[in-house]
Symmetry: none
Subunit: 532 residues, 2 copies
Amino acid sequence: MRKVSIYDTTLRDGAQAEELNLTTEDKIRIAHKLDELGIHYIEAGWPGSNPTDKRFFEDIKKHTFENAKLAAFGSTHFAKKTPENDPNLAALLEAETPVITIFGKSWDLHATIALGVPLERNLELIGNSVRYIKERTDEVFFDAEHFFDGYINNADYALEVLRTAYEAGADKLILCDTNGGTMPHRLSEIIEAVKETLPDAEFGIHTHNDSELAVANAVEAVRMGASQVQGTINGYGERCGNANLCSVIPNLELKMDIETIGRENLKRLLVTSHFVSETANLRPFMRQPYVGASAFAHKGGIHVSAILKDSKTYEHITPESVGNEQRVLLSDQAGKSNILFKAKELGYELGKDDPTVDRLLKELKLKESMGYEYSVADASFELILQQAMGKELNYFSFKNFFVVDAKREEDPEPFTEATVILDVKGQQEHTAATGMGPVNALDRALRKGLERFYPKLKEVRLLDFKVRVLSGAVRDTGGTASFVRVLIETGDKNERWTTMGVSHNIIEASWQAVVDAINYKLFRDDVRASQA
Amino acid sequence: MRKVSIYDTTLRDGAQAEELNLTTEDKIRIAHKLDELGIHYIEAGWPGSNPTDKRFFEDIKKHTFENAKLAAFGSTHFAKKTPENDPNLAALLEAETPVITIFGKSWDLHATIALGVPLERNLELIGNSVRYIKERTDEVFFDAEHFFDGYINNADYALEVLRTAYEAGADKLILCDTNGGTMPHRLSEIIEAVKETLPDAEFGIHTHNDSELAVANAVEAVRMGASQVQGTINGYGERCGNANLCSVIPNLELKMDIETIGRENLKRLLVTSHFVSETANLRPFMRQPYVGASAFAHKGGIHVSAILKDSKTYEHITPESVGNEQRVLLSDQAGKSNILFKAKELGYELGKDDPTVDRLLKELKLKESMGYEYSVADASFELILQQAMGKELNYFSFKNFFVVDAKREEDPEPFTEATVILDVKGQQEHTAATGMGPVNALDRALRKGLERFYPKLKEVRLLDFKVRVLSGAVRDTGGTASFVRVLIETGDKNERWTTMGVSHNIIEASWQAVVDAINYKLFRDDVRASQA
């Protein structure tokens, strides 16, 4: 089986993404996770460019990796220096990584405009730098920056750049589509020319996603013979990002029978993707191929009934091969089979003729006609399912709430206060709390009344809060009087769950969602306790 | 110049996306926006599948479109019916659209398993349905569902399906990669076989993004001769979504010299993308190619200094060609041109050295750091611009508000009441109102105080209300205590406008947006009066 190595640059090129900021500690944790995934090379930073990266390469020396080789990244030496007295090359060697990647200009425009050196001198910088580093390091890769744009502008020069690096000892020539503007068929033609010019050179591919073609270009280059793919987890990177390894790897493994990290490691793809997004505190992209929450989620009635017969009717791979799973979304067309499937997913085996199913279907139809949308609120669905199964949750019952928002001319924000009366285990709890807004105040007053009885509620964190004005109603009654749906995402140390409320009144809708979130937490803790 | 038509299915296939739920009113507004963009075909729903889509096709008959033809989508007739007595085909014809798209099974597995009919019968369903519809409609497209998977499994049958639809009169055969699992080089080979079998048939392409190759496959099919591309705005769609038209269109126009919507319309790409995501209340994807906020944002030091010399060093196209703009992160140079650009859009010609611009820049920087996002709230931006130009709006001034929400166990919804104190033209107005929620009550109390002075406020309707929790803050403070941004859309008989408020407190954020909405109405009436 043909093998292609994976070169991950999440920690270097990926970190150029807007909103992505990693600490040294984050970078080390991600490096270990990439190693566990079976990545072959980890490009971890540019030691010559900033003190953080330099310090990182000091810290990482204490760590060992099972599969991955670390790579340090840097430019050719400065035009006014020699390799021997160049601080950038010195910093690269001080990083003491088994691999060093040197990038150089292969687009004549860049050499003359961005770098400001004659074309001949640029070739010298490349040759000298690669040679100097190769004499002192195991493996040297040469990143030909803007190779495809360079080739289109001046093919001879771009090829001369590759030849120079190759003759200076570069182990691999990496063809970079730095601006991400190359169409796949042009990329093929250009790679063909490279193969004719340097038939014995090994080459790799580094693409960007500015035309939404980074994955396609990487896959096409491999088909043309590339022995290395560079990219990032989740496609993070400057502007529109880099080739997304979470798509490139399964495409090569599952669609083209090329070995990269291997089929066993592939099952870790989803957890790796989540680990990186969580560490970077970036919201995962639901529609992300292979590893996204929606990647194997089915909503349409026809699709759902077909996948229940044979899942390959609407799934291009088995979700488990990348660590993902099939999901059936409940929508307003929810039929009996959707409910059975959803219940099964949550661990409830219901027969088609179980009276629970009819009760549930009736309740769901009613709620959905009011604007509840259970496809996005699994936890609220599970609470309704419990109810339909005749298991009432009696953690507390509601008596009364009262919320005030008051603002005077001179206040920057309103003063907000909520009071709540609850019955908890036979006792009446009357609590009050202020808040950063009415929902926050209600949430705090509610928890104040409950935490004495259920101390584990202290673990609960509200993670996200979404409000949507519902269909139809808007036009009829004016936006502020129409139905609103509130979705709340809540979490503790074990899991995350989503609950929902619907009302004309945003306070009431939020209250429903908050109450569901708390009930779900208490219910799950009970389930866990009974299983222990 | 070669032309390729664009067939948008945001309202049908796009609406299958998880989290995407559109009202009839949303769908009509999006259809008009697509028409303005110059889209050729708008697939608006499946009238036979559910009452909402059926009602939509009734409502849309009252609307006319400049560029786009509406298409209704539906399946072949039921195996137990004839075309004449099939409810699905009847619903399609009742929609009275100039175009009808019929989908049929081209994968033998689907015909036998999902549909449960013999292969020969499936061909009859396709032939009969296409023929029946073509006799009664201007243009009929045939979507060959799962065509590429079908070809791989049983090439002869898949081609026979196409031939049947072609001979029954289909104007175009749409090759669908329904499961999104096809690699571009396989897609090419299969299209080659189609061209050999049916050299005179026109074909289109419909791809899904499950392998992150939907755009690549669409572009490749066009290169092979496809005369139509189907896709959705922002790539919304079931699972990982459809081919993203916001990438396909500029790739064809700018990279392959193929005319689709034309270069002038292309400049509306970004506003169309934002309009659809805002209408669907989905967070825009920052790294989205061409139209994303990060698509032309430069962070790395080397990149920034290079683009200041020549922007094509790190930009594959000029951002303005798709309505986007260059952003240099951590630099206010980009901010200034941004402001001039936006002011000009609203009809204000400001010089680069106008002191208004500096004042405005300072104010905007401050507000944006708090979470205000003026790109989606033109009316609030125009009010700030007025202020920076020294024109204070003195229609009324705020003194005090007080809102109560109270709910008891026996109430279905809380009781809500608001009181407001205002200064209007030297008089103190103290009003009270109940409402269907705190924002509605405040809105009503505010208008009660103003309508006596400004009777035209009676024309104003609140059309939409959206709330978003701002990113970043969530993890630190818990969802209900983080910053929220409220967007309100308001309209009168002349126009619609969007205003915004930001606060920890949803009541305060809503209040800001409502006050801006009222001020904008009064300001625009004055402008109109002075022009008359």
